[in-house]
Amino acid sequence: MEERILYNLIQVAVVVAFAPLAEGVLNRLKEIVQSKRGPSIFQPYRDIWKLLHKDEIVSEESTWIFRAAPYVAFVAPIFVTLLIPVLTRYPLFLAFMGDMLGGGFVLALGGFFVALAAVDTANPYGPMGASRTRMVGFLAEPVFIIVFFTVSFVAGSTIPYIVQAVWVSPLANFFAPSHVLAMLAFFMLILAEDARLPVDSPSGHFELAMINKSKGLEYSGRGAAIMKWAGSMKLFVLLVIFLNVLVTPWGLAGTMAIGDVLLAIPLVLFKIFLFLVVLVIIESSLSKLRLFRITEFLSAAFVTSVVALTTSASGL
Amino acid sequence: MALIVLLLIPTAVAACCLAVSRRAAGILTVIGAALVLILATRLTGRVLGGGPRVALDGWLSSDPLSVLILLLVAFVGFVAALFSIGYVDRRHGAPVAAKDGYYPLYNLFLLSMLAVPILANIALVWISVALTTLASAFLVAYEDTPEALEAAWKYVVLTTLGAVIALLGVVFLYWGMKLAGGGPFTWAGLLAAAPKMPPTVLWMGFILVLVGFGTKAGLAPMHTWLPDAHSQAPASICALLSGVETTTALYAVLRLFPVLTNAGQTEAQAWFLVFGLVSTGAAALLLVYVRDFKRMFAFSTVEHMGIIMVAIGLGGQAHFGAAYQIAAHALVKSFCFFAAGAVVLTLGTQEIASVRGLIRSSPPAGMALLLGGLAIAGAPPFAVFMSEFAILKAGLAGGHYLAVGLLALFVVVAFCAMMRHVNRMVFGQAGPAPVVGDLPASCVVALVLSAIPVILFGVYLPSGLDRLFTAAAAVLGGAP
């Protein structure tokens, strides 16, 4: 009982601590692929540290939403972390507090607040970026729902721990076409939700073309640090869900021993590292889609998820 | 064995045609086609006398229905080859290289059509039907105008689409046979295994083959390529396309009727009736608005394919009418296209509105067109009228009043529409289009040769043919 609470807290600590590292590794890999040296993988930590020690400037026109949004965005992934299998295969203390749909909504709540905060400022680029993010989000919602339905339908439950067990035990289940298609649809979703290429360019500086980064333009000092941290945590959480539930549901601790749980940490990090390599390859070979082409991208994801659903529903 | 030689002759001629000049190729083709015709006639006699013949360990076989189709293909192939000699020389539509491709392709086309009725394995039948499309693609595009190319494109794409659908149908039928206990994958084998096949599989195979090969046969609503292809091709090729190619495609569908009735699936009759009536009705309507007389004859092909389908669906005595109709249509339609080709050669146009008073400006073409138009529309005492009458009579005797009524209505509408067009073309004041040429000798010979059955078989049906139709009808009714 106590172990479960402890492991839950360890999970949260892992996510909070290692999320900037994941972002640092991603940026470094992208630079390496482009034959540059790239920043150190610990650079995001240094950035957050630097920002925390700077002054914060808040616009007089903004309301409490602007001040609260970074904290909401920071807390939302933490909430979701409590629900998903990060290190262990068996459900932890708060695991039944919410299921995957609940987790999805909590993440969306964070994004919603941040979009509102972007509108809250008087900066013209904020609302523009926020409206674009909402467009992408609204197109991605059906895909989210259907992918969750598919995996829940196959597993007979919406709790991530139980879903994850389905792919593990008869290993052949892993190759079922519904699984492959659901993985593909979810991957396209991650690209859309976390504003990776081809949906959005995370390293672009041109405000008119920004979709996601424009939401954080107005923040400075502590707010900026927390927003940055929250952004990398969102990516980390999405990756953990994707990898631990769908793609590689192995390497998680099966017993209650603390040694197993601690051993799972480097395994999870390793899996994330492998996925980041794949992500970098994809990001480096695609160019950013024009805005109206994003509907095509997301409708392709939607169709893939629908086919995954029907494939599993018809019992293949 | 005659069956093997039948297939070897066009192959050999095609190979030779590649090496010789066009004139020699034309003569070679005519000789080859004549030999094929002689062989086919002898084979018919033997089949009627002694039952189905097989060759090559059972890979080739022929029963009365297949021999009927074979005979028609051989005859039309021979006469069309004769017509080609004069026609191709006169029409300078194509560059020199393509002209040299005409006769080799012609022979390959003829080969593929000959193969359809005599190949025993159904999968090979599918392949030869698909090959008829591929062999005739460049023949349809021969005139090399943008319209001809458009027509050829639609032809190839739509019929190949149908062929792929039919492929899945053939695979389903094979699966059904396997589930029913196996056996040779031939028409006879399918007939025997049908009662034991799971009905869903049989139906799916049937529907897919009906839609797929129906596209190739020109059944509505999959007929949209037909008026284009059959009007833009050179007249000799049109005769082959309309007269016998659609019939060979329809043959594959017709073969399934006894399979389904043997298995007790009598709803198949309804499918045949509905598709047939829709085709006839659509063709009758479209015939009213047509503006090009080759398109007119093409729509008439759709109409007649529909009539044959209805005749099969009516069952019983109507099957004799169906066999009669198949033969009558092939012979008369090829003659019609020769007549149309004659008009094109003399006046240089395909528009109905430009042709007037043909009987005065070019008597041979005028008479041919009048005869062809009357015959194909179904005027007595020509063969088509007799076969349609037989079908209607048998339908009434069987009690299918609605189907017979609708069929009669559509046939009458088509008759009136075609006669109106032909009348204005042949009679009336001398037309706006001046005479640009006269008919080459080979064309005249071909016209006369093909006119003989048109005039003759309405009033007098030789006993051999009568026996052939009866035997073919028996096959359609389910005799092994």
């Binding site: 079922a176 | 396997k178 008026p227």
Partner: protein
Amino acid sequence: MSDPVASYLMHLNAMAGGLFLLAAFAIVATRQMLGCLRWFVVQALLLAASATVIGIAVGSLHLAIVAVVTVVTKAMATPWLLRRTVRRELYSRREISQVLNIPTSLLVAAALALLAYAIVSPVAALETGAFVEINLSVGLAGLFLGAYTVAVRREAVPQLLGLLAMENGAFFAAVSIAPDLPFIAELTVAFDVPVTTLVIGLLTRRIHERVGGTSVGLLSALREK
């Protein structure tokens, strides 16, 4: 065949089927002709993979040879023939014009795939083993999607690729329900694909020479006016 191995094979085949269906969707959704051709080759390779897997499971050398023939004719001969006949069209990087835009096309394609599943379900129960169920539904869906591609594209080469994709679908169904068609039939049906490609390719080239483009969907001179 031991049970876990059989189960693995079944699921491998299922994965090939899922990816085959995905390739069919990709052919509907791709904008460029070269992309269409590449997805077609992927489809053909998945077809060969499925044939191999089923061949191993059923113990049929016949199917393995079918797989090899498929790879040779569809994955190698057909692209080569296309490159020989319509090279300029194929490598031109322009967008294919279509009647419906891509998201709508994808939705229609999804509906067609569902229709294929619905049609197949009463039939697939007739034979045991998941091979038939998957291959039949995916094959029929591939057939429908290929036919849809032919209907919706206005350019010659994508229409041809749609036809070839249809044939892939028909074959995909055939390898599971008719794995022992007589060899001569199997071979000739397989060679039908390159011959069709050759004829249609040459016709496309002729059209391009005569008409100046290959937007065959826009050719509409032959109509009753």
